[in-house]
């Protein structure tokens, strides 16, 4: 049985028909074809699927699309400005080379923004602690942590609101 679902994704009203068991990440990737959000573990551990639901980082593999009805969702595709200029967090990941293969990167960037909002001017210890739900198998986290520390300063200074 299909059920109507509607939400705002990256500022755009979207709707569709889904099975009740459809995960939010499946709706985002398979129905809306926004494939920037990745599925790594599908068990709430790796953080590759992190998106913002009503401004808060959640793992989109562990929430049903129907649970997100009526919410405002931001994915990695919703960060850059229409002119292509990057979000400060994306810019910092580029600057500090916070990635190698890039698979975990969308989740890292979305979680990084969530961390920076909750901890303006976050220090390294805070960032490492807060990243415990995001797993990267390439980089050893050094560049990722540097990027988030840096962007949390930029965002705090700019009074960043995304």
């Amino acid at each position: 049985m299909l059920t109507d679902v509607n939400m705002t994704i990256n500022g755009r009203e979207v709707s569709g028909k889904v099975e009740a068991r459809t995960l939010l990440v499946e709706f985002i990737r398979d129905h809306l074809k926004l494939t920037g959000t990745h599925v790594g573990c599908d068990t709430t551990q790796c953080g590759c699927c992190v998106v913002h639901v009503d401004g808060r980082a959640v793992k989109s593999c562990t929430i049903l699309a129907l649970q997100a009805r009526g919410t405002s969702v931001t994915t990695i595709e919703g960060l850059a400005k229409p002119d292509g200029s990057l979000h400060p967090m994306q810019e910092a990941f580029r600057e500090h080379h916070g990635l190698q293969c890039g698979f975990c990167t969308p989740g890292m960037v979305m979680m990084g923004i969530d961390i920076a909002r909750r901890h303006p001017n976050a220090d390294e210890h805070t960032v490492r602690h807060e990243l415990e739900g995001n797993i990267c198998r390439c980089t050893g986290y050094q560049g990722i942590v540097e990027a988030i520390v840096d962007a949390s300063r930029t965002m705090a200074t700019a009074g960043e609101k995304v």
């Binding site: 099975e19 009740a20 793992k59 562990t62 049903l64 649970q67 979680m111 969530d114 909750r118 739900g133």
Partner: protein, 264 residues
Amino acid sequence: MQDFTFHMPAAVADASGLLGSCEDPKLIAGGMTLLPTLKQRLAEPTDLIDLGAIADLKGIRREGEHIVVGAMTCHADVAASELVLSTIPGLAMLAGQIGDPAVRHRGTIGGSCANADPAADYPAGIVGLGATVVTNQREIAGDDFFVGLFETALEPGEIITAMRFPVPKWSHYMKLRHPASGYAVVGVMIVDTGAGVRVAVTGAGPSAFRVTAMEEALSADFSAKAIDAIKVDADGLNADMHASAAYRAHVIGVLAKRAIAARR
């Protein structure tokens, strides 16, 4: 996962009605345990009743000498609550150590307690703080709520609506966190109620329990030394690939002493 019919009632009474009328329903709160369980087909309910749209179940408020936390309040909100931080900092500390930040944005106090995972953190808070579990039918003393492994005093059709915590004089939570899952291998909540000391343990047994020998010793003399000689019996404690029963029994004493040392 198997498909199901999804319901999102706007009131507790509607959720209760659905529990009675659906063939094999399950309530879903934050879903941090239930959704992974459904993915593995360890549960295959015909209907999921989501409590997320019931506004009455969310929020934290003070009622006299008690702090009332709505069942659908997420861990992140408890951890960051000014009210909780200023009245029961041990509870905020506990909530802030559950899972990871994204999990804390979805997981709820009611869901965690209803699930009664032996390694969940909240049961130590409910039992240690002497909280009252408020349901749509009655009130249950925290001491009587956790009955066994994944088993609570809840009756079929009963829905937790809030947790009511008496404001203690002092409280602290210490946890040996499993490095991969984040669950408590052992978690110890120590509370000075003003009328005595309570010591509650999660992770170590089939469900949260109190260590009365420590409570008596600490009520007389609140110091790490007072419980130095108290050995927790390993008999009946959990043993798995992560830790033996004897290790868990030992760690209860270590964490209790660290919690005591944290009091200034």
